[in-house]
């Protein structure tokens, strides 16, 4: 059966017009659905999808798109699998810890479906490589985890005229939509500007329930497959909100902003820009160095405690973090510090700490402004304490 298949966008590839008998068996549950059928399965086989990020959202995306028979899957990630990933990044197994994510994902996805082509790009997506990476693909799927990359993916998709299947998550909540369709809105229509770094939730409020990226990434996979098949109503123009705690899906209208600098009638952004500058961060870790305060290293602290110095250990983490591990400190969460400052004795020497040293730096800064003079920040927090002094203290 010779079905003519038009690639959705991009340069025409060598189009497959048939499936092998083995492929027919593999995809039989698709083939017997009239909404997919032989024609749809060949569209999938001839499609080229680029996944930005192979983490939480990328896991179900990679698995379902590979299983569905998307002919060419590109994977972009520069990260290495670590143990904290396995709670949600279900593409990876324990034996993958330490491997580049793109490599571990390639092994898993090719074992799932050896008939597809998997191209890995072990690199950070940047303004210098994005257009080159995107140009060979029909659909870009955004599974990244930071604002600069989200704006970069959006702008590159608009410049190249490619759909951007968007998903993002926070703790129990997810957002899904499709940007970059010819008449549809783009990410900048929804959010013209990113939040300033100071207003991005800190690690005290971070975390994500492992199933959530599974659900949101699966919704993105579904939207991707619908775009390839040209079936159903895409989420373009609609923002789907998912609240896993309430177990509610809601939908909001997403309009194309006629004055959008990227996709509006008078485009003012004609090339990729410096997205870290746009988002107000010099680099991913830049916010850590915002506050300069006096510090003490874990080893210095240990030797002073061993000497019997009178030090008040102030733990500014949250109670649920204290339960994971602690340094026998006195717990006053950063957010409660302003109203509980009277509990502290400014005549005693205080060492403040948190998990990584960032929140406690804010605490030290706050207390110094409140008149405390003998106060130090534990450099690197519990993570550094575990590395340098007491490995029996778990890192999280």
């Amino acid at each position: 059966m010779a079905t003519k298949v038009q690639p959705m966008t991009g340069a025409p590839a060598a189009n497959a017009t048939t499936l092998s008998n083995e492929e027919i068996l593999r995809y039989s549950r698709h083939l017997i659905m009239p909404e997919v059928g032989m024609e749809g399965q060949l569209k999938l086989k001839n499609s080229k999808v680029l996944l930005i990020g192979t983490g939480g959202l990328g896991a179900p995306l990679g698995l379902y798109l590979a299983a569905a028979g998307v002919g060419r899957l590109g994977l972009v990630d520069f990260d290495v699998v670590d143990l904290t990933n396995l709670q949600r990044q279900v593409t990876f197994g324990s034996s993958d810890v330490g491997k580049p994510k793109t490599e571990a994902a390639r092994e898993r996805l090719s074992s799932l479906n050896p008939d597809i082509q998997i191209d890995t790009f072990e690199t950070k997506l940047t303004s210098d490589n994005a257009l080159e990476l995107f140009k060979d693909f029909d659909i870009i799927v955004d599974g990244t985890d930071n604002f600069p990359t989200r704006y970069l993916v959006n702008d590159a998709c608009i410049l190249l005229g490619k759909p951007n299947v968007y998903g993002s998550i926070f703790r129990f909540e997810g957002q899904v939509t499709v940007f970059g369709m010819p008449e549809g809105p783009c990410y900048r229509c929804l959010y013209p500007e990113p939040p300033p770094p100071g207003l991005v939730p800190s690690c005290a409020e971070g975390g994500v329930l492992g199933v959530l990226p599974g659900i949101v990434g699966s919704l993105q996979a579904m939207e991707t497959i619908k775009l390839i098949l040209g079936r159903g109503d895409s989420l373009a123009g609609r923002l789907l909100l998912f609240d896993a705690l309430a177990m509610k899906f809601r939908e909001l209208k997403l309009r194309k902003n006629p004055n959008c600098p990227m996709c509006g009638e008078h485009r003012t952004i004609n090339k990729l820009i410096d997205y870290y500058e746009f988002c107000g961060v010099r680099g991913e870790e830049a916010p850590d160095s915002n506050v300069q305060v006096p510090e003490i290293t874990p080893r210095e602290l240990k030797s002073r405690l061993d000497r019997g110095d009178d030090l008040f250990i102030l733990d500014v983490r949250e109670p649920h973090e204290f339960q994971i591990c602690n340094l026998n400190g006195n717990l006053i969460p950063l957010g409660e510090l302003p109203r509980r400052v009277h509990e502290l004795d400014s005549s005693r020497e205080i060492v403040a700490h948190c998990r990584s040293g960032k929140r406690s730096a804010e605490a030290v800064d706050f207390l110094r402004k409140a008149g405390f003079r003998k106060i130090l920040n534990l450099k690197g927090g519990i993570l550094a304490w575990s590395d340098e002094v007491d490995p029996s203290v778990p890192k999280y």
Binding site: G55, D145, K253, K358, L383
Partner: protein
């Protein structure tokens, strides 16, 4: 019955951990005013120092973006739902990105 305001996960910590609240208000501006009076910590997350709604926070009345209605003067009536929808970026490793040490 008033206007229901749905508070998104990232902002619940500034709103007494509530996921929604109900206010009496004839406009969106009034509703957000009531909300930030009740929960003072929310103010800086919703408004700039000049009192303008922040551009990374979108507000909807029912399913419509107020930027395409009458912005903060958009009228509200009992039974309406106001949604506050901030941009979230998380995808895979939010915790690690925000406060971990630089990775290799």
């Amino acid at each position: 019955m008033g206007v229901k305001v749905i508070i998104p996960t990232p902002l619940r910590v500034y709103a007494g951990k509530r996921d929604s609240t109900e206010v009496k208000a004839a406009t969106v501006g009034e509703a957000l005013g009531r909300l930030t009076t009740e929960f003072g910590d929310l103010r800086k997350h919703l408004f700039t120092e000049e009192g303008k709604l922040r551009s990374f926070v979108n507000v909807y009345v029912n399913d419509e973006d107020i930027r395409y209605l009458a912005k903060e003067n958009t009228p509200t009536k009992d039974g309406d739902t106001i949604s506050i929808v901030p941009s979230i970026a998380g995808g895979s490793s939010l915790v690690r990105r925000c406060c971990s040490r630089p990775h290799a």
